[in-house]
């Protein structure tokens, strides 16, 4: 377990050591969250590296990563805890067959930790060998308001109540990272609890650094061209602009194809790695790709 960073600069270095190229704004938010023990809410388009932040933090700080992937209809049974009903029923049957008569004792036995199945939120509150874990609550916008309200309670006190067992409280609060793709607005009350940061597309300089650190196999000239091209098409009126994840995928794809420089034919053939909507691909193919690529090289 590594010590928490003591300044914004240290935070930047820490992220850098995990191959995450962050800007100073993001480092500031992460530093403050660690220092003040507040959850971070990261919003941004898909593929800009929100989830990655949690993974890198877990790796560099040497903490366990507990991930709760949200989806519509996520409920307490799959997020916090559930009882092992089959096991419980078996226990009741066996007790009956054995002629047990004390109902209170049976109830205490059946509703004990032995039959409790712990889901991510409860796991995050337990003591961990590597120190307080990183709790990643991914794509919160996919779940509904009811779950959000429940989460609010967990995030303010870091405790959960299991009616049959009592309240379970974390000795050390986990480091919480919440991400959202903004397919719906997160409620103000939850936002108030968190430090907010909008993860935007990186500028050319930072994107090149990311590419060099994550796809070191790509030739320098090709990397430069890839970044310029992606930066240029992000400015166009597309339904979904490519994220950093797409840039990296594309770079990997081009390396696999042994490309050393961009040419219109190569771009046309691999456009599907970069753009995921047919309208966008058509629009790009219809435009003058050659002129675009030439202008990048100029």
């Amino acid at each position: 377990m590594a010590a928490l960073p003591q300044s914004i600069d240290e935070t930047l270095t820490l992220l850098q050591s995990g191959d995450y190229v962050a800007d100073r704004a993001l480092a500031t938010v992460i530093f403050l969250a660690l220092k003040l023990g507040r959850p971070i809410l990261l919003e941004g388009e898909a593929g800009v590296g929100k989830t990655e932040i949690a993974k890198v933090l877990a790796k560099t700080l040497g903490r366990d990563l507990i991930r709760l992937q949200c989806y519509e209809g996520l409920d307490v049974a799959s997020a916090v805890y559930e009882w092992n009903y089959a096991g419980q029923m078996m226990a009741i049957r066996l007790a009956e067959a054995g002629g047990a008569t004390d109902r209170t004792e049976l109830e205490n036995d059946v509703f004990s930790e032995k039959y409790l199945i712990k889901r991510p939120l409860l796991q995050a509150l337990e003591p961990h060998v590597n120190g307080a874990p990183i709790l990643l609550i991914d794509e919160l916008d996919r779940t509904d308001e009811a779950f959000e309200a429940f989460l609010l309670e967990v995030l303010s006190d870091f405790q959960v109540t299991v009616p049959e067992l009592g309240t379970i409280k974390a000795a050390h609060a986990p480091i919480v990272i919440v991400t959202s793709n903004r397919t719906r607005e997160i409620h103000d009350a939850l936002k108030r609890r968190c430090l907010y940061h909008w993860v935007g597309y990186p500028n050319a300089e930072r994107e090149l650094k990311i590419l060099k650190s994550r796809a070191p196999d790509a030739p320098a000239k090709l990397s430069q061209e890839i970044v310029s091209f992606v930066q240029a098409i992000r400015k166009e009126d597309l339904f979904k602009a490519p994220g950093v994840a797409e840039t990296l995928d594309w770079a990997q794809a081009l390396v696999e194809l042994d490309a050393v420089a961009l040419d219109p034919e190569l771009v046309t053939d691999t456009l599907g790695v970069l753009l995921k909507y047919q309208d966008d691909i058509q629009k790009m193919q219809a435009s003058d790709l050659k002129a675009k690529i030439d202008s990048l090289k100029a």
């Binding site: 938010v29 530093f31 719906r184 430090l195 909008w198």
Partner: protein, 399 residues
Amino acid sequence: MSGRLAENITFFARALREAGLPIGPGAVLDAVEAVEAAQIGTKQDFFWTLHAVFVKKHEHSAVFAQAFGLFWKRRALIEKIIATLSPHSPGAPPDDKKPDAGALRAAQALLKQSKNEEIKEEQIEFNARLTVSEREILQRKDFAQMTADEVRDARRLIETMQMPDDWVKTRRFRPDARGLRIDARRTLRAALRSGGNAMHLERRERAEVHPPVVAICDISGSMAEYTRTFLHFLHALTDKRRHVETFLFGTRLTNVTRALRRRDPDEALARCSEEVKDWAGGTRISTSLHRFNVDWSRRVLTQGAIVLLFTDGLERDGTTELGREMDRLHRSCRKLVWLNPLLRWGGFEAKAEGIRAMLPHVDEFRPIHNLNAMKTLVEALSAKPSLATDPRAWLRRAS
């Protein structure tokens, strides 16, 4: 930490609030704590530290940046604060001078001035546009006040409204004696209560909720006479249902959801009137739908949303563009319902080019005889799908 810092942050928070950011007193305390924790060395760090606490929405970022510049520029305030905060310097000599008497007012005035500048810029932009597009007319709109009867009738009508397919099953469960699935938890608890001799199986079923409704309404000149009715309808609907998002468009798209959340219908409509700049002017359906598709569709068309599109479909610009945008919209939502008031003329046929471009991409086409009364609007929405609402039938009839 010096009281001066807390004071200045309080003033800054007030200035932000004035500029429209929702900032509670808790945020001010958080900000002071954060600034102390961050050991700030540069102006940039100070900016991002306050940003992390005060900005809770991407849209507010620009306002924050502007207010930050205006507020902290004064009297080299920021340098002094950094000097006292920086771990490298032992602390700047204390500033004995009291803050200027008008400091707060000055900041507010600055902010107000900047708002005016924004408006000016917008007007310039509009003037420039006027030369290329002939039809954008910016104007205010005054709605007649609602009578008490109207408000009461609206409530009652919304209660009775039953849109087809208006329930979606969620993935959550509720107890239901006739449900198909067994509720293990309740079964087990009941078994314990009864001593475990005979087990009564408790059951559960999927809970159902209303899907979100997204209304996209045309408020151009040709629709002007209906605007009041459908805004009133949407206000009542916003009041009644969980998720209703409303967008108005003439030549540009405006989201008026927050305005319609005001409880009082007159106040809500007055708010709308303030926010929208292009009442009763020209129409650019495809441009407006394009903006919706790019900026909003992914944010509001979730969890099986139904889209209600109020427009007469009289588009003058390119109809191929319109077809493409309608197609995109149609594929992003669960159901697309088009309400068209053109049927007020008895022999309406889907002949206009814009209408023919839009029809293939809607699930239901609901023409309305008289959109002036909310009753007919509710009836049109509640009607069972039939040949009269089938867009393909309308296309066939017209060809």
